[in-house]
């Protein structure tokens, strides 16, 4: 399949492997920066993960200018603007974000404010509206293997006044360097490992089947799913398996590149709404909703799902499955993976297990219909379609 027109960009340099963090000091020199601010949260400091980065920077002769560890679970406009103010006040010249999606998105938001000379991130809400010659040097060190935010041109930031999550999309948001070091994820508990891993799987599956999919994003999605098939369960069996941890970090990164360029669809739209309305953890929502989203899209995207069977189950299963059966078996494969995650890590398999009730569904559907991800889903959906998916997954 070749789209009539597509765009693709991934200019983040990836450092992947044991002790990759030790090379951040060198990368800062390449970026002509010497006084970074480290953006993170208190929990990650308490876990000692930030110390790994700080020690590496000290060993590399870099003086950290400031540590901003006040990023909450949900990135917000106030925090983004406050971080930008701290950066300016302390005279920093680069951003190192150490954390999960919220920390990385906060750093991206602050980078917009800093680069444009603004004081309020809200001015730049939207898609492809940011213009700049060069952003503030930005290095992302993910501590989960799921969001892929270290290689995406998107950030989601909460407007605390209006209680809505705002989307910011621009290729300029991509970090300069993404650092995948297995030390940063080996302490993740199994439940979070499963949840974030299924988030990565959802990125890859949705990116592969969305309206904006293209040959380049397809390649990344396929590679991501291959790694998830081989390593997700291994990380659940042995969290200290650094090879498996590194592989899952790579899977999340690859899926991130894919969806940054192809975008995501109805599973993310509904998942975001479940998060906003009922505080369902993003990865949990993804794992629960993915098979139902695939079933909804089946008549339009079935052929694409059939192609994914090769990556979800491997060559032998793919070859022995008749072509007409492959889409259905691909959905079964996703359910099997979710079942594995449920058995080994206690992943929920239904929305009712994460606190969603029948009474919540209309509000979730009304929010989901206005989520930007809905526009690129391969199949159109109205409120009743979304309610159908929600009821099936309840």
């Amino acid at each position: 399949m070749i789209p009539a027109y597509y765009e693709f960009s991934n200019h983040a340099k990836v450092l992947s492997g044991e002790n990759a963090v030790e090379n951040i000091a060198y990368e800062l020199k390449v970026l002509e920066a010497a006084h970074p601010i480290v953006v993170t949260n208190r929990q990650l400091r308490d876990l000692g993960l930030v110390d790994i980065v700080l020690r590496a920077l000290a060993d590399g002769g870099i003086d950290v200018c400031a540590i901003y560890d006040a990023v909450p679970v949900d990135s917000s406009v106030d925090v983004v603007n406050d971080l930008a103010k701290t950066f300016r006040k302390t005279g920093c010249d680069a951003i190192i974000a150490v954390g999960g999606g919220s920390v990385l998105d906060t750093a991206k938001g602050a980078n917009i404010v800093l680069t444009t000379g603004s004081t309020d991130i809200k001015e730049f809400m939207g898609s492809e509206v940011i213009t700049a010659r060069a952003m503030v040097p930005f290095i992302a060190v993910p501590t989960t293997a799921g969001t892929g935010s270290e290689v995406t041109g998107a950030a989601v930031i909460k407007d605390t006044e209006r209680h809505v999550k705002m989307g910011f999309v621009s290729y300029l948001l991509l970090p300069d360097v993404a650092v995948l070091d297995p030390r940063m994820t080996e302490g993740l508990p199994p439940r979070l490992t499963a949840s974030t891993g299924l988030d990565a799987l959802t990125h890859a599956v949705e990116a592969f089947s969305c309206r904006q999919a293209n040959p380049l994003s397809d390649g990344y999605a396929r590679a991501a799913i291959d790694l998830i098939r081989e390593y997700l369960v291994k990380t659940l069996e042995d969290g200290q398996d650094r090879t498996a941890r590194l592989a899952m970090a790579n899977a999340a990164m690859l899926a991130g590149v894919s969806f940054s360029n192809a975008m995501v669809g109805i599973v993310h739209a509904i998942g975001h709404a479940c998060g906003g309305q009922c505080s369902v953890a993003h990865g949990d929502a993804m794992g629960i909703l993915l098979p139902y989203g695939m079933e909804y899209n089946m008549d339009v995207a079935g052929e694409r799902y059939g192609e994914l069977l090769l990556h979800l189950k491997g060559a032998e299963v793919y070859a022995s499955t008749p072509a007409a059966e492959r889409p259905r078996v691909a959905v079964e494969a996703v359910r099997e993976l979710l079942g594995d995650a449920a058995r080994r890590a206690g992943m929920p398999m239904r929305l009712s297990q994460v606190g969603v009730t029948e009474a919540d569904l209309p509000a979730i559907a009304a929010t989901a219909i206005n989520d930007g991800a809905m526009s690129l889903n391969p199949k159109d959906a109205d409120i009743s379609d979304i309610l159908g998916i929600l009821r099936a997954a309840l």
Binding site: Y6, M125, G126, M263, N370, G372, L376, D380
Partner: protein, 180 residues
């Protein structure tokens, strides 16, 4: 050696821009007319905050059209540039815009192809897209809508009533809007 080479748009480009301007004006009036005729557009526009100003434009420069919700009604402000836009949808060039404006390419396909940028609340942008799909359902025949709309067009009023509403809106341009 000549270092500053500036070319003016050729006649073909100027014609395309003129055509885009006409279609923008029709779309703006179509939105106002549909807010009167079609309950689905009324519901969508009813959810927009008071004062919401939505602009469809082509970069660089003109043409453009703005519709604004004021006193609970949708008005078209034509190609006025003095109204700050709450939501600004900008096609990257006239060649990006025309296939969409002439009903040859779907709006969602256009976004997938990065033909336009969106400045503002993406939630309102989603609502606008649904409204534009309904407007396209009235403006274009089924042979075209089958190709560009994500599902078959459903019309709460006939084409003729819609065109009459559109002309009525044109007659009252900027003065009367569609009540919600």
């Amino acid at each position: 050696m000549k270092t500053d080479v500036r070319l003016s748009p050729g006649p073909a480009k100027r014609t395309k821009r003129m055509l885009a301007g006409v279609v923008f004006a029709v779309m703006g009036r179509g939105l106002v007319a549909c807010a009167r005729l079609d309950g689905r557009v009324r519901v969508e526009a009813g959810s927009w905050p008071e004062g919401t100003a939505i602009t469809l434009a082509i970069s660089p420069g003109s043409p453009r059209v703005t519709v604004r919700k004021q006193n609970g009604r949708i008005h078209t402000l034509g190609s006025r540039t003095d109204v700050p836009s709450t939501l600004l949808v900008t096609f990257k060039g006239v060649d990006s815009a025309l296939p969409v404006l002439l009903g040859m390419k779907g709006i969602l396909e256009a976004f997938a192809e990065h033909r336009a940028t969106v400045k503002g609340d993406l939630g309102i942008a989603m609502s606008l897209v649904r409204c534009l799909h309904i407007v396209e359902g009235y403006l274009y025949p089924d042979i075209m809508t089958r190709r560009i709309l994500p599902r078959p067009a459903v019309r709460e009023a006939g084409h003729l009533r819609a065109y009459a509403g559109l002309l009525g809106t044109a007659a009252n341009l900027g003065e009367k809007g569609a009540g919600l």
